[in-house]
């Protein structure tokens, strides 16, 4: 199981260089590289876009158009915990809108936003493929099924605790 990705930037530049060197000039690998950046940086920063454009020989405007086309990439930093509420058909029929409302209320943000302390991002996802245990949410790509609006407060609290704990260890 992958722990909550820490989005510390130390050493990332060096790693990015390595990743780019492996894909240098290979335009077709653009999405793969952006995927790596999103995962490790939590978003795709402007300066990284410029480097990618230069190294991969892809026009900067194209890098930007690919980023904005795919839901997975974001231009703004995401929180430490990315909570995505599944809003596929099955989840919708089994109450996903109520789950979303509960999260909006609990976190005080709207979908595609991040809390002020950079702790939580809220998002919508179209089908995790776990429809039989709908409604689903995912926290940092980890799916959780049979969600209920009543569980939301508990989940947010648990994540806050977990984050504190992680900070202590660091």
């Amino acid at each position: 199981m992958e722990a909550a990705t820490t989005k510390c930037r130390c050493g990332l530049e060096a790693e990015l260089e390595k990743v780019l060197a492996a894909h240098e000039g290979k335009k077709e690998d653009l999405i793969e590289v952006l995927y790596w950046v999103q995962k490790n940086y939590g978003y795709v920063p402007k300066e990284v876009q410029v480097v990618i454009s230069e190294k991969m020989k892809v026009p900067l405007s194209t890098v930007y158009d690919v980023i904005t086309f795919y839901h997975l990439f974001s231009l703004k930093p995401k929180g430490k915990y990315e909570i995505s509420v599944c809003n596929g058909t099955a989840c919708h029929l089994r109450g996903a809108p109520f789950i979303l409302k509960s999260f909006e209320k609990e976190l005080g943000i709207k979908p595609q936003d991040t809390t002020g302390d950079n702790m939580f991002s809220l998002g919508l996802i179209r089908c995790l493929g776990a429809c039989a245990v709908a409604p689903n949410i995912s926290i940092n790509s980890e799916p959780h099924g049979r969600m209920e609006p009543e569980l939301v407060t508990k989940i947010v609290k648990a994540l806050k605790e977990k984050s504190k704990l992680a900070d202590c260890i660091e």
Binding site: L34, T89, A132, S141
Partner: protein, 547 residues
């Protein structure tokens, strides 16, 4: 004609034969002989009883008791206990999944008896991280058969004869697609697996990729041999991280064991496979958009022709098949096209995996022969509507499909019959909605989805869906006007007729389906400002109050 006291039916469908029903039959015959029952009991071989997963199967009449997974060693007990003394052998009975009570009679079998697992044969039963378990279940035997004795043309003919059609949605004949790509000119060709299961509410591809990745790898290698490609890509959507992980592992294993790479099984055929992970765009399920995405670009569709079979990935002839389609290939090669074609209907052959979701008691994935009445799927397999509510309709094909209202529940689930109702089998999503679901609200939800996922390239989809969503939103808010019906119809018609890609053309389908089957409910929203299902918040007053 001679009368027997009892009949023993031995299922001799291909599955049971594979599982060893013939030794069982011999052993029973021997036991009958030993107990001198030849005059009283007759043993008969039958065709497939449709419960292959539990084979070898034996049914003893007149009671109709069914024994599952019978082995030759069990024959003695069946003869001495059941045939001689009339006592049912409980140990060999099938047990109900809900109650664990043994179910002696075949007619009482609930869900499973109706299912035949082809594409899903291994998923959930073998360890996807262990190639050896796959091999133990005849894995890579189809590839071996193809490479060691079949010409590419013979492989294509086998697939064509099986009648297998693309399970991703369009339902195009898989064999013909292979043939076109085989005949296309090009030094380099590609096989692409479409694992961008973007339709919300279906998850068979995920299940197969996660639970039986080798079946897809094997099928792609077979396809590569058939069309003359030595390279393949599996495109998996990013929302399925586990599937990506399992697939990556499986590809490495397959390489290690020599089922991928140079000179596979010493036959001179080479094939390499790569994974491409999508990045969250429904439209990438469309073939040309998917190829653009593999090439690392924005996933926008291109006009066809040229079809990918002639000009696909980097301009080279490319075969694109979906996960479920591919997973069905190895069994077809091993058991023959006749076996596959014997299931299903005349034009829709074989089995199809459906995802049962929504307001249903037993949601999940089921694989049944095509042509099964929807009623059987919903009630006998799915257990009926949740909380015993009244069934309103079944939504087939997800956000780009349409409704099958309760009145049409006896429709045969095959491509043609479902199309006659104005909807489509699509990738196999069946969402059950009950009396508490408002169709207008649901259709609005679908339109939201389509709007959000529209790539924005062509005018009808980009501008038209937006206006349709605005109208539907207005109607659910009680601000609908009489002309909205006409406008919706006009826009639906326009988008269906002129959008660039299949997804855009299909996007208005739920609206057209709603207007076809639930027009009064829609009109009630506009004229009476009333939501009959009491879902639309703005319209919760009774009709007399809001009038």
């Amino acid at each position: 004609m001679r009368c027997y006291r009892a009949h023993v039916l031995v299922c001799a469908g291909s599955a049971c034969v594979t599982l060893g029903c013939h030794p069982v039959k011999e052993a029973i015959l021997e036991g009958i002989k030993r107990h001198r029952l030849e005059e009283e009991i007759k043993v008969v071989e039958t065709g497939c009883m449709g419960f292959c997963e539990q084979g070898p199967l034996i049914v003893v009449y007149p009671e109709g008791v069914m024994y599952c997974r019978v082995q030759a060693e069990d024959a003695a007990v069946i003869v001495s206990e059941h045939l001689l003394k009339g006592r049912v052998v409980e140990r060999l009975l099938y047990r109900d999944t809900d109650t664990n009570k043994p179910i002696p009679f075949m007619k009482d079998q609930p869900s499973l008896s109706k299912q035949i697992k082809v594409a899903m044969r291994n998923a959930g039963f073998i360890n996807p991280e262990d190639i050896e378990e796959y091999i133990a279940n005849e894995g890579y035997f189809a590839l071996a058969k193809v490479l060691s004795g079949m010409s590419p043309e013979a492989v294509i003919n086998e697939i064509k004869d099986s009648g297998l059609r693309g399970r991703g949605g369009a339902g195009f004949l898989t064999g013909s697609k292979w043939e076109f790509t085989n005949k296309a000119q090009g030094a380099q060709k590609y096989v692409v697996c479409n694992g961008d299961e973007g339709v919300p509410g279906v998850f068979m591809d995920r299940s197969i990729l996660e639970g039986d990745p080798h079946s897809v790898i094997e099928a792609m290698a077979i396809a590569g041999y058939a069309i003359g490609a030595d390279q393949g890509y599996v495109y998996v959507r990013a929302e399925y991280p586990l599937a990506v992980e399992k697939l990556r592992h499986a590809i490495n294993q397959a390489r290690e064991y020599g089922f991928l790479g140079y000179n596979i099984l010493g036959t001179g055929f080479s094939f390499e496979l790569n994974i491409r992970v999508g990045a969250g765009a429904f439209v990438c399920g469309e073939e040309t958009a998917l190829l653009a995405s593999i090439e690392g670009r924005r996933g926008t569709p291109k006009p066809r022709p040229p079809f990918p079979a002639n000009k696909g990935l980097w301009g080279a002839p490319t075969l694109i098949n979906n996960v479920e389609t591919l997973a069905s290939i190895p069994p077809i090669i091993l058991k023959g096209s006749d076996w596959y074609a014997s299931m299903g209907t005349e034009k829709s052959k074989g089995t199809k995996v459906f995802a049962l979701t929504g307001r249903i008691k037993r949601p999940g994935l089921i694989e049944v022969p095509m042509g099964m009445p929807l009623r059987e799927i919903i009630y006998d397999i799915g257990g009926g509507v949740l909380n015993n509510k009244k069934l309103k309709a079944v939504l087939a094909g997800g956000p780009v499909g349409g409704f099958i209202p309760a009145d049409y529940l006896d429709v045969s689930m095959d491509y043609e019959s479902v199309a006659e109702l104005g909807t489509l089998i699509g990738s196999g999503s069946l969402s059950v909605i009950d009396e508490d679901t408002c169709v207008v609200d649901l259709v609005k939800f679908f339109m939201e989805f389509s709007c959000e996922e529209s790539c924005g390239k062509c005018t009808p989809c980009r501008e038209g869906l937006k206006r349709m969503l605005e109208i539907l939103t207005r109607v659910t808010e009680g601000k609908g006007q009489e002309r909205d019906i006409e406008d919706l119809e006009r826009l639906s018609d326009f988008i269906k007729n002129t959008a660039l890609c299949g997804l855009g053309q299909a996007a208005p389908s739920p609206v057209l389906s709603m207007l076809r089957y639930f027009r009064p409910e829609f009109e009630a929203h506009i004229r009476d400002k009333h939501c009959p299902a009491s879902v639309c918040a703005a319209l919760l007053d009774s009709p007399c109050q809001s009038a």
